[in-house]
């Protein structure tokens, strides 16, 4: 038996680039010790990762670390999309962090290094071909975030948020590992495709109570990561306590990571007739609870956090179609997976734009504040408020935020193709609840400021309004342009998601 494996380094290039970025950031911080240089290196590295992933992904699917037909590293269409999106999101979040880092609220080198590490996890995640790689990648994505959440100096809320996040996340990881171990005990395999084949070919394995338990535990563990109800309670506290850019990262890249992990096991490993009902239930609960609780929020970031819980429900919804036999035909299944990925891509663009909007309308290094702090922001910063408003309207799924509209349309379409009309109706009605609070925030931007609130006082102290640098405005502009482009040409996303 040949124990020396041939390793396809081209397939691994995205991971090399991401990990290299992290190392380079550390070295730059050590040797150059200039915040500007560190941030620039991190941003360039992340951009390079995006470009490299796109180049590798442009070719045919590449596999490596194979045992027989089963491979641990499969860099195909979806892996490319995930790697590019995560890397670009990292660039965006770095841009959003610039004012906070300048204000000295967090140590620059550590911050950029941790972000690059987390990006590495995200890049690897999409290509994972076995449960171990998948869980390790997911942990690499999450682990740096425990620190990043708590990295706001002198903030008790930040420390609390970090502890909450850490405890919940460790429990989730344990559950996921337990699920993986149980599956291994049942089947003797860890490769996703092998698991899928084994469970499909041997119905007696599937009927074992242990298998059901393993599937349930695995799904629950991953549901924690996407903050699906009832495993969502950590998200609002964590988002609100974290620095704004980290909250943006949590609700975009980290959520995308959770979804990709969930998709990987659902699509390739687990029997759809067992996962389908669980996912349908999770989706309904997640969007309904998320939307209803978001209605009552007064703090901006908490509202966005609950809304992002609800959005996770929409992302999961197409997978709920697997609950019905009509949704388990090959065609309907691939449509459902593609719809989930497409929704996630539309969503992360809009969510990044929304967080960039909050950051751009708030003083440097500040938290999200309350909705009252945003009142009348459009009078002070018409363009920034317009971009923020567009992102919110997009999240609500209405024109002129066409990207969000097409995202909802994609989900509804996939559900109806899968015969799950009831779930499509639930999604549709949730969109109505969602509009209520998105509209509240958007309307607040243009509302007249009646009393000089804390925002006005702060604005008076700074140089005419919010002293946030140009980098944030650039991120906001780029995210907005991306959202507009995707709104006009959604076929781009649909094609990529279907690969």
């Amino acid at each position: 038996m040949n124990v020396v494996q041939s390793v396809d380094s081209v397939a691994l290039l995205p991971a090399y680039l991401a990990a290299g970025t992290a190392v380079l950031v550390l070295i730059t911080d050590l040797l150059v010790a200039r915040p500007r240089a560190t941030i620039a290196v991190a941003a360039l590295g992340a951009l390079g990762t995006a470009v490299g992933s796109a180049l590798v992904g442009a070719g045919a699917e590449r596999r490596t670390f194979c045992v027989g037909a089963d491979c641990s590293w499969i860099f195909g269409g979806r892996a490319t999309v995930v790697a590019v999106v995560v890397a670009l999101l990292t660039v965006g979040v770095l841009g959003l962090s610039v004012p906070a880092l300048r204000a000295g609220r967090s140590p620059v080198g550590e911050y950029a290094f941790l972000l690059a590490c987390s990006m590495t996890g995200g890049v690897v995640l999409g290509a994972a071909g076995d449960l171990i790689t998948l869980i390790v990648a997911l942990e690499t994505l999450t682990l740096p975030l425990y620190v990043l959440v708590g990295l706001r100096r002198g903030s008790l809320a930040s420390a609390e948020a970090a502890v909450t996040f850490f405890v919940v996340s460790v429990v989730a990881t344990t559950l996921t590992l337990l699920g993986a171990a149980l599956l291994y005990a049942v089947t003797g395999g860890l490769h996703l495709d092998r698991l899928g084949t084994l469970l499909a070919e041997q119905p007696e394995l599937r009927d074992l109570p242990l298998t059901t338990a393993a599937v349930a535990v695995l799904l629950v563990g991953l549901a924690f990561k996407v903050a699906a109800v009832p495993f969502h309670a950590w998200a609002p506290a964590t988002y609100d306590g974290a620095p704004l850019p980290v909250a943006a990262y949590l609700s975009t890249a980290s959520k995308l990571g959770g979804l990709v992990a969930l998709l990987a096991v659902v699509q390739r490993a687990l029997p759809a007739d067992q996962t389908g009902p669980v996912l349908a239930l999770l989706a309904v609960l997640t969007m309904t609870v998320g939307n209803l609780v978001a209605l009552r929020q007064r703090r901006t970031v908490r509202l966005l956090a609950w809304s992002s819980v609800a959005q996770a429900g929409y992302i999961l919804a197409p997978l709920g179609a697997l609950a019905l036999a009509a949704g388990r035909t090959d065609e309907a299944r691939s449509a459902a997976y593609a719809a989930a990925v497409a929704y996630a891509v539309f969503f992360v663009v809009l969510e990044l734009a929304a967080f960039a909007g909050v950051t751009a309308l708030r003083p440097a290094g500040a938290d999200g504040g309350t909705l009252d702090d945003l009142r009348g922001a459009a009078r002070r910063h018409p363009w920034r408020a317009a971009a923020f408003g567009l992102a919110l309207v997009g999240l609500a799924g209405l024109p002129p935020g066409l990207a969000g509209l097409f995202a909802k349309v994609t989900v509804v379409r996939a559900l109806l193709d899968g015969g799950a009309a009831w779930l499509a109706l639930v999604v549709a009605l949730n969109a109505v609840i969602g509009l209520a609070y998105y509209l509240r925030v958007t309307a607040a931007l243009w509302a007249p400021t009646t009393t000089p609130g804390p925002a006005a006082a702060l604005a008076g102290g700074g140089a005419s309004g919010v002293p946030v640098g140009g980098v944030v405005a650039v991120v906001l502009a780029v995210a907005t342009v991306a959202a507009v482009v995707l709104g006009v040409a959604p076929q781009l996303v649909l094609d990529l998601a279907g690969r």
Binding site: V393, L398, P399, P400, L405, F406, K408, V409, T410, V412, R413, L416, D417, A421, A424, L425, A428, L429, A431, V432, L435, A436, L439, A443, W446, A489, P490, Q491, L494, D495, G498
Partner: protein
Amino acid sequence: MTFGQGLLVAVLAVPALGAVAVAATPRDRAARLVGTVAAALTLLAAVPLVFGGRGWVAWSADAPAVRPWHQLDLAWVPGLELRFHLGVDGISWPLVVLTALLTLLCCAYTMWRVPDGGSGRALVALLLVVEVGILGTFLALDLVLFFLFFEVVLLPMYAIIAGWGGADRRRAARKFALYTLFGSVLLLVGVYVVVAAAGTADLVTLTGGAGMSRGTQLAAFTLLALAFAVKSPLWPLHSWLPDAHTQAPTVGSVMLAGVLLKMGTYGLIRVAVGVAPEGARWAAPVLGVLAVAAILIGSLVCLAQSDVKRLIAYSSVGHMGFVLLGVATLTATGIQAALIGNVAHGVITGLLFFLAGAVKDRTGTGTLAELSGLRETAPRLAGLLAFAAIASLGLPGLAGFWGEAFAVIAAVQVGGPLWTTLGVLAAVGGALTAAYFLRLLRQVTHNRPSPAVGQVGPGLAGAELTAWVPLVLLALAIGLAPTLVLGVAEAPVDALIGVVSR
């Protein structure tokens, strides 16, 4: 690209670009002028759509039921079955012209008076965006595109109410947005129920059912009809309407009542009935009963109203009831009545809201108890109000007559105990309509002038006359020559009835 296709594009592109130009023009008054010019150009592009393209209307067994005079079909998002497919025919053209006309009048009116709340520039830009959405809805021949344009209207209209409305505007605007979105998400689900079953979103192909099973058609019709019932609005889903109409600024009320509601009835005819005829036949009695309930309840509520704008708003519920009754009969007469009722309601209620706004602006109150004797101090305004009210109550010779009369006739013609009863009840509702409008006139125009009315001068501004005269003339013209609307609509309605009753 042919001349007709160019016109189709222009009808949407001119107001869209106009809105951008308005937003980009720094000076308020100049911006409003730019917007008015854009609206005028849109009207100029909409009117000639009627010419040409009708060479091949000759009937044949396999001709599609929708035969647009002009059409434009471009690919957009194949993954979602969305094509940029526009077309115009006799059912949509009168509504397109009505929309373009009312937007122009509203923009022109805004040149003269900007309601409190925000800049006139933003208001005009929003009006133009609303126009794009409405025109797109009327022109779309692709179901998904139809849904898209249906949604475009929602937020700009919300902003108009919330930004320039009355004292309770925020609540009213929110209610409008949530109710309407509730309708349009049902539309979304309905649209994709159809698309999933038929495999296409092309309205030309789909009209007539496209071989969809009975179950699918019933489900699709239920969803679509609910969606359009919210928009129209059909009792009991109407409760957003009085608040929104009352709180909206004058131009907002005119757009809402004049053309926004028509998106619902137009959708019902073109999409719900056309795509799911079997579902339509199944649900027709329910629709008919609800429509008559709307007529009666709307009229009775109007009798008890104490606010001018609210009364006119509720009168819309009753009038749209007649339109829906016409649709529900599923006969050529009924649908013709619905179409002309649509246009007449747009003209007359648009005028009524303009006049109510003028009364409210002058006296500072809209409460009926505080208004009386308007004809003593402002005879011309009182005369116009009387004209509009009488046109609205359906006096023969004015526009309101045809829609109401023929809806009743169509119901009686269908026959059977149910429809005859419905026809009779609708006629009773017509009498009630006369009662509340005469009550309105007696209170506002007769008696001695109240203190609020006493200070009103007799004059009318030039801008007001400019905005009102075209509507007065149209109300007369459609009343005297209904063939203006019915002539162009006859062929497409016959074709539609042909497939519905197949």
